[in-house]
Symmetry: C2
Subunit: 572 residues, 2 copies
């Protein structure tokens, strides 16, 4: 019985070592203190009252701690999910509307269901479709949009709600004359405090200092009379636990947003989890388990009047630096937020919104990364353009369209490349049985008159067989048809699909009619099986398959020898 | 000046040989005679008055003859484009409406613009995205839909207009009691005549015999009084040449249909052009020139009150069999249709619609091909399912969605496979420098203790690097970490993108920390360049690159030798 119960416990808890406790407690408290202002700030970014950011920082952390495979990941409200929540809810309702809070919770439930389903279907590999240039371009653009969206709180003006950066900038420009100077000074002061404290000390939490200073300044100078906006009354007590009421029309309007947030949230979380795991290397991450854990966290967020959560960059880094060894740190953070909800909410009455805005801006500025673009300009021009298009698309076409465009383009480029694969003409390195690309090795290799040796790497499939034929025909033509033997070094052809088999059959007939003998060198198992099943191997004849290029070449001089080698090869 | 003018002429005309003339004239007349009933029948399928099918069989043929690269392709109205036209126009207007004819012509113009633009942008390769299973499943389903859509003409009943096969069948079932017996008998008789004549003679055009017989029967027996529907008055004279009047809302409603028809039409045309070209092999097809020529043909169809055209299966086969040597045959067919328009239209007054329906049904029955599915079941199970899903999707979800689903799925499967690429563990064939897959060659190869030799084929890119790492780590783990040297046979890695370079760098650090020395054998040019630009080559160190696996293995025994080989290798 005890063994059974113990199996229900998470792995890290079953094997918990006392020496981990100190780091877990220190990290849990540090992250919890960070979470108080961050939770409120990100809720504001999502268009929600600040309290819902704290709600989202309770149960979800415990859910992740039980199911997750990362030992340092800090789950909770993050900037990107908050922005996506605001953008998707803004499309179907308005901030402050009766149903806004319920829809945010519904969105979290839907994200949870999507992530759980994806985890059960083992779709964790889908995150591999997001290449680094796409993630980088998207993250930089999203950071700029988030920063821009906070300008109104920093300047104390009203602006149009939008997630298009040009709309936001235009709206700020129009209202520039109405800037509230005290608000701006508090905001700039807040940023200065956060950055300054970070430079001075690694222990003191800058955001908390800024929050305390902001409250004291507003109270002390009575700045609410000067038009400085404050957080106001925050209801105390635990979050109400309930499934939000919703109609199916809400679900149908939110499903594409839920898919996007589920994917983007998972992307951010797995990226940071991988980075921190690579520093430790004492446990394994499992992408599908991570999906399940984040799904459970989002279900918890939805039932606790929260909104979509995920593993975030900054708090995870702090968690790791503060010494977290297991997800117990996350549970301690959640308990600290619970205590805050019970006893401390009245303290934040005078907290200026500009301080929360300054906190968000400092956090997202770090995510803007033009260095990656510069590096790619030299390393891989195509990837540079993919980054740039994703960046501009996210800024000006919107967040969902931007990342969708990036993924579609990067897959398009990948498919296009696989339709135009690398084909090399080989020559022999004199005195050896090594054959190398004549374009690369030039003088060092020798071609054999009348013999064309070609190496093709990758699958032959419907998308590239036309090109494959065109390339070989063009090479034969360029040699004024002085080719009587074509040797295909086929080791790299790991698959031939049915379309390619059909076209290959016709192509071989064409070559035969042109009087060109085709020999295959080193065909590997899967491709050989496909040739056999299609009947093409029989048509080609076993005598035209050789173990390697040298054997295929030797066939002219020593026919019996070659056949013998071949026979042993075909036996498999 | 003469040389300049001569350069404007198509290649086939400049090099025209007198001995070709006989075949061209015979084929041109044969196809022209076929085109008269087919043009009218397909127009009816498209929801247009029969005359517009003849209009579409004039100028477009001449436009293709001037620009096309196929010498036997017969362009004009075809079943598939007609069905697609009916389906797309049916979504925004109704058959018989004032704007139906103008919209059909507008659609042809738009298809022409899309194909011209695609030709200029050299997008002909896009047709390679349509694999054989997709084309086969789509064609069979479209043939069934076309056949079903003709049931109402064959049975003489009214049915709902739809391009979903279940709607059509349901509607026919509901109206089954209202069958017009004389109409059904004429239709069945027409099918019997067409099939019978074809079996008896290769020279006599069955469809024409059925048309003449149908007219005579209806006139002689006065069957119009029995409810047999006839073609009725067909206006004589050439088509009116004009650009149809249209609004931008029409264009925006038709653009997705225009894209589909442009692609599907090009697919059908290039497939049949390739097939007939492979029989002759005395000229080259150029996919991009074909796009331009089909685009010009569709522009001509649009200005001549026609509707979208393309190269069709049946008439091209007849054209070839009748001896066509150049596109002059097509020009002769067009002239014959012109004469028909001028003088012969009154003859078709009594032509029963059931005869046209029987003609379409016989033509499309040949396109239903379940043999391909059966073949794929044994040859390639994944391709079998792609065919089946495309077939069912086209039948029940609609034509555009069906082919879209097929293309998306086949690309999805391709991308998924490239994310799960083939990785082989190699052993040495004793006494040689050949290394082969231990799973395939079993007893014949020997592994070296402590050394893991892995071959990877294909590009390393964002989508597969996670899997690549997982596989190698799993193999190392399965050997209880008894691996001190990992040799990567990298000849087949023809590209490494920036994401893969980054992840590879971390992976190599991981391996180094585990005490595993990594050696690269036979890295080819493009991949080596990428390693160099990213700085990874420097981190790996030139001494760890080898010409081949044998050299990488020998490094332990004869270090100086290996370095020397390597030095000459790095020089490039």
């Amino acid at each position: 019985m005890q063994a059974f119960l113990s199996n229900l416990l998470p792995v890290w808890l079953r094997n918990y070592r006392p020496e981990w406790l100190r780091g877990d407690i220190a990290a849990g408290i540090t992250v919890g203190i960070m979470l108080i202002p961050q939770g409120m700030a990100y809720a504001m970014l999502a268009g929600l009252p600040p309290i819902h950011g704290l709600y989202a920082a309770t149960l979800p952390l415990i859910a992740y701690a039980i199911l997750g495979t990362s030992r340092q990941l800090a789950v909770g409200p993050v900037a990107m999910d908050s922005l996506l929540t605001a953008a998707s809810l803004g499309a179907i309702t308005v901030v402050g509307a009766d149903n806004y809070i319920a829809l945010a919770a519904l969105l979290a439930l839907m994200v949870g269901v999507v992530q759980l389903a994806a985890g059960v279907m083992r779709l964790g590999f889908l995150v591999d479709l997001l290449s680094r240039p796409i993630i980088s371009g998207f993250t930089s653009a999203a950071a700029i949009i988030i920063g821009a969206s906070q300008l109104k709180h920093l300047l104390g003006i009203e602006t149009a709600r939008s997630s298009y950066v040009h709309d936001i900038v235009w709206s700020v420009a129009q209202n520039f004359s109405r800037i509230n100077l005290p608000t701006l000074l508090i905001g700039l002061g807040g940023m200065a405090v956060i950055i300054g404290v970070k430079k001075l000390s690694k222990v003191i939490p800058g955001p908390l200092v800024a929050v305390v200073a902001g409250i004291l300044v507003v109270m002390g100078l009575g700045l609410t009379d000067q038009g400085v906006k404050i957080v106001g009354t925050i209801p105390g007590g635990f979050p109400p636990l309930s499934v939000p009421s919703f109609g199916w029309s809400d679900v149908s309007q939110l499903w594409s947003a839920a898919l996007t947030i589920a994917l983007v949230g998972f992307m951010e979380s797995i990226a940071v989890a991988k980075a921190v795991r690579n520093r430790h290397r004492d446990y394994d991450l499992d992408a599908n388990r991570e999906l399940l854990a984040l799904g459970a966290a989002n279900l918890a967020a939805g039932t606790a009047a929260g909104y979509p959560v995920t593993g975030g960059f900054s708090r995870t880094a702090v968690n790791d630096q503060a010494g977290a060894k297991t997800p117990l740190a996350g549970i301690i953070s959640a308990l600290l937020i619970g205590l805050t909800l019970l006893f401390l909410t009245p303290l934040f009455y005078y907290l200026p919104q500009a301080i929360l805005a300054s906190l968000i801006m400092v956090a997202v500025f770090k995510l803007i990364d033009f260095g990656e673009a510069k590096k790619l300009w030299h390393l891989d021009r195509a990837d540079f353009w993919l980054l740039t298009i994703t960046f501009l698309g996210t800024l000006f076409l919107g967040i969902q369209l931007g990342i969708g465009l990036g993924v579609a383009l990067s897959l398009g480029v990948h498919v296009y490349r696989s339709m135009r694969p690398h084909l090399a003409v080989l020559g022999r390195i004199p005195g050896t049985d090594n054959f190398r690309n004549i374009d690369r090795f030039g003088e060092e290799v020798r071609e054999i008159p009348g013999v064309l040796i070609v190496r093709f790497d990758g699958a032959l499939y419907f998308g590239n067989l036309t090109y494959f034929q065109q390339q070989i025909k063009a090479i034969i033509k360029s040699r004024r048809d002085d080719v009587s033997v074509l040797i295909l070094k086929a080791e790299g052809i790991h698959r031939i699909d049915s379309t390619a088999l059909y076209d290959l059959g016709i192509f071989l007939q064409d070559l035969a009619r042109d009087g060109i003998q085709v020999r295959f060198a080193g065909f590997i198992g899967p491709a050989r099986d496909a040739l056999h099943r299609s009947g093409l191997r029989e048509k080609i004849g076993d005598q035209n398959f050789y173990l390697d290029v040298a054997a295929a070449l030797a066939a002219d001089q020593q026919a019996p020898q070659a056949l013998q080698t071949n026979a042993s090869f075909v036996a498999h």
